[in-house]
């Protein structure tokens, strides 16, 4: 039996290596093996950053706007911080009994009055083509009475970042993203004042890359691809600059569901990251989109993928917590990588009912509560009541601010915007 461990994991967990090294009576091949193991462990170890490095990193990073100045200023202290994971939770769209929707509802929501937790099932059913009829009923996105606007906030953030020529990756799990809606948001945003150091994109939709993941494993695979892409970019940055080429562009990296209809496919191709021969406004050396670092990652409805696998009981879902932990660690590893992207994740609410609204809590449970850096909850008044149009965003957790600060916001064609009274109303804490 060899005394020297054979794998790096065994080397790290072995109890006899210290004694071996101290003895000094190793055969040459054993000494070589130990040396190789030590080098492999040193290569796998993360670097030690000093406070000065962190300070310089912070000084060089720029805050990303969510598109809503009220949320940016009061809840996020300026915007989405690069390297941090922000969770946006809020209620999903639900058809309350007896309410008359002001916007035309998609046909499937009218046909099947389901409780809110199966909205995700409905959306998944739409993916598989069963309810493919209604895809075009409401091209501007359904504004269901209780939907608090999480997807709208994601769209606004993506549109704001794309307008500044920043690369955005949007992972859509419930087919809530439509190219036309994103185009509408981009056009409705207030015009950008041109700044010297900020390039403006002529065609912002090119900078948004859409991926569709319908189960947690494909999400993990997509995150792994993003991580390896990040590592590749670091390697490429260390090599010499390649000459800019007018390449045809590879096909977008979408997780395509074979059951989708053609129309939805075409809608996907529009915002996808295809590099065509259209000239860009920036001029100078045109870079391929794949060479740009990813600056914003949005996962719309991570909870839609995770909640089916979480939960007690025997059977195939005993690994639910491990999958959740793996997703969270991959997201934070991606956020902490070079380039420091900002990550936004949405979550829905569970528990309680229409009458006991205050008992609703975010999905994904206690083990997720610890993971994000900041948590924002979007609240909308119950439908049919006096406070229906009042939307407030509440800060639930933050490393810098005390929880409970709330600001009003509105939903409109430009996505999420600051509330009308934002100028007069100071952000008030909901509790002392």
């Amino acid at each position: 039996m060899s005394r020297v461990p054979k794998t790096v994991e065994a080397y790290l967990t072995a109890t006899n290596v210290d004694a071996l090294e101290a003895e000094g009576e190793l055969l040459p091949h054993e000494a070589q093996a130990l040396e190789a193991l030590r080098a492999a462990a040193a290569a796998a170890a993360p670097p030690v950053l000093s406070g000065t490095d962190l300070y310089l990193q912070l000084a060089a990073s720029k805050l990303l706007s969510t598109g809503c100045e009220a949320i940016d200023e009061h809840l996020l202290r300026g915007g989405l911080r690069p390297g941090q994971l922000v969770e946006v939770c809020g209620e999903s769209g639900e058809l309350a009994a007896g309410s008359s929707p002001q916007m035309p509802m998609p046909l499937e929501l009218q046909l099947l009055r389901q409780p809110s937790h199966s909205i995700h099932a409905l959306k998944h059913a739409r993916n598989w083509g069963f309810l493919a009829v209604c895809a075009n009923t409401c091209p501007y996105g359904p504004f269901a009475p209780t939907a608090s606007g999480k997807t709208q906030l994601c769209l606004t953030a993506a549109a704001t970042a794309a307008r500044q020529a920043k690369r955005v990756v949007y992972i859509d799990t419930s087919n809530a993203l439509r190219g036309k809606r994103l185009q509408q948001v981009v056009e409705s945003l207030p015009p950008l004042a041109p700044q010297a150091d900020q390039p403006t994109a002529a065609d912002p939709l090119k900078f948004v890359e859409v991926r569709r993941c319908y189960d947690v494993h494909s999400l993990l695979q997509a995150l792994d691809e993003l991580l390896s892409h990040q590592a590749q970019q670091v390697q490429q940055a260390q090599q010499a600059q390649r000459a800019p080429q007018n390449s045809g562009g590879p096909a977008p990296n979408d997780q395509q569901n074979p059951g989708q209809d053609v129309q939805q496919q075409q809608q996907q191709q529009q915002p996808a990251a295809a590099m065509t021969a259209a000239p860009t406004a920036a001029g100078g050396a045109r870079r391929r989109l794949e060479d740009l670092p990813i600056e914003l990652l949005i996962i719309d409805s991570l909870s839609a993928l995770i909640t089916p696998v979480l939960g007690g009981g025997a059977g195939q879902h005993s690994q639910g917590h491990a999958l959740l932990a793996a997703a969270a660690t991959s997201l934070k590893a991606f956020a902490a990588g070079p380039g420091l992207p900002a990550v936004v994740v949405t979550n829905h609410m569970v528990g309680g009912s229409d009458e006991r609204r205050h008992e609703k809590r975010p999905a994904m449970g206690e083990s997720w509560r610890n993971q994000p850096h900041s948590r924002i909850q979007l609240c909308k008044g119950p439908p049919g009541s006096a406070s229906e149009q009042q939307c407030t965003a509440v800060l639930r957790a933050s490393p810098l601010l005390p929880p409970g600060i709330s600001v009003p916001y509105t939903l409109g064609t430009a996505g999420v915007a600051a509330g009308p009274e934002a100028a007069e109303v100071q952000p008030q804490p909901m509790q002392l």
Partner: protein
């Protein structure tokens, strides 16, 4: 005569040896100077008013989410890295190095900068420097140079860095100011990931918990990092580090299985919880501090964080934050508050 000479020389030798052995090696002062390790002044009144930490001791701060663990660790780091007398003003720090293992990924540089900034400007104001002349940058840059951060995204990376950092730790300990402490944020960060790993395939008794056995089992090819092996290895590495460099370790732990459950119906000790760390780690820990947050209204169901934070939507009262020393056992429950400057003690109460 000639027979006595060598005997007399041998006797003289022996006498010399005995006298040598009887002479004292060093005085008590020399012994203390050689082995005395400064106790750690953590700057956290929750800890300092109760006990002092010395090298070789391990403090575990356990709580549910949102109780201020990371803030507490950053407060300790800020107290250690601040300089003592610097540019004529005394900042009250220890000017020592600190190594922070960030397993959760939640270490916020801005929070650390704000804490340092607040303390530095407070000391400058106390020293009589007028507000417009206050310059925090030199002291801040001096402090930041002593803060070291390691971000690990898996147990494998953590073990690799603990193993690889031994010479770096020696260098830090030898630097002026020395190494004050090791801070680990959330040792239970990879609990579910490690638990999902399966044990060694053949032999070895199978299962997750049988892995800590014989040494041959571990050197078998392809041994994965199971939960027990990871915790055993972390405990062994920390012990080896503490033998080389006498530093205390302060680790925070996220309580994954809070004790109070609403459905049980019977009164349970709110401070009890099922520990997610294995025995080797539990044997290493010498001090335990538990933190808890409660909502002070009647609509709170259960404790341990599940109903607590989300009942806030009902407009319930401000959260009540409690702390209790579990090891060494102390009946007093301390109320504390969280604000910009970190954790501060509000009131020390009786047993609850």
């Amino acid at each position: 005569m000639q027979v006595d000479e060598p005997q007399r020389d041998a006797l003289a030798d022996y006498e010399e040896q005995i006298l040598q052995w009887l002479r004292p090696d060093e005085t008590a002062g020399q012994l203390l100077r050689r082995t005395y390790v400064q106790p750690l002044r953590t700057g956290l009144p929750l800890i300092d008013r109760f006990t002092t930490l010395r090298g070789g001791q391990v403090l575990e701060i356990a709580s549910a989410a949102g109780c201020g663990r990371t803030t507490a660790l950053l407060q300790v780091a800020a107290s250690c890295i601040l300089p003592g007398p610097f540019n004529g003003i005394d900042y009250g720090g220890q000017a020592a190095h600190v190594l922070f293992f960030d397993l959760d990924g939640k270490m916020d540089v801005v929070k650390l900068l704000e804490m340092l900034d607040a303390r530095i400007s407070q000391r400058q104001t106390e020293a009589g420097v007028p507000l417009e002349q206050q310059d925090e940058q030199p002291a801040m840059q001096d402090s930041l140079a002593r803060f070291h951060l390691v971000r690990c995204h898996s147990s494998f990376e953590l073990l690799a860095s603990l193993r690889t950092l031994r010479p770096a730790l020696d260098a830090l300990a030898a630097a002026p100011g020395g190494l004050a402490c090791l801070l680990i944020d959330n040792v239970a960060a990879f609990y579910y990931l490690d638990k999902a790993a399966r044990g060694a395939p053949a032999g070895g008794g199978g299962g997750v918990f049988a892995g800590g056995g014989a040494a041959e089992d571990i050197t078998r090819e392809g041994a994965p990092l199971t939960l027990y092996r990871v915790h055993a290895a972390i405990a062994a590495e920390l012990r080896a580090i503490q033998r080389r460099v006498r530093v205390p370790v302060i680790a925070s732990k996220h309580v994954l299985f809070p004790g109070g459950r609403e459905a049980a119906g019977q009164p349970q000790d709110p401070w009890s919880h099922r520990d997610s760390m294995m025995k080797p780690w539990q044997d290493l820990v010498t001090h335990r501090l538990m933190l808890r947050t409660e909502i002070s209204s009647s609509s709170s169901r259960g404790v341990g964080g599940r109903g607590a934070a989300h009942a806030a939507a009902a407009g319930a009262g401000p959260p009540v934050r409690l702390a209790k020393w579990v090891l060494p056992e102390d009946a007093a429950v301390v109320r504390y508050g969280l604000d910009q400057d970190g954790v501060h003690v509000l009131q020390v109460g009786g047993p609850s």
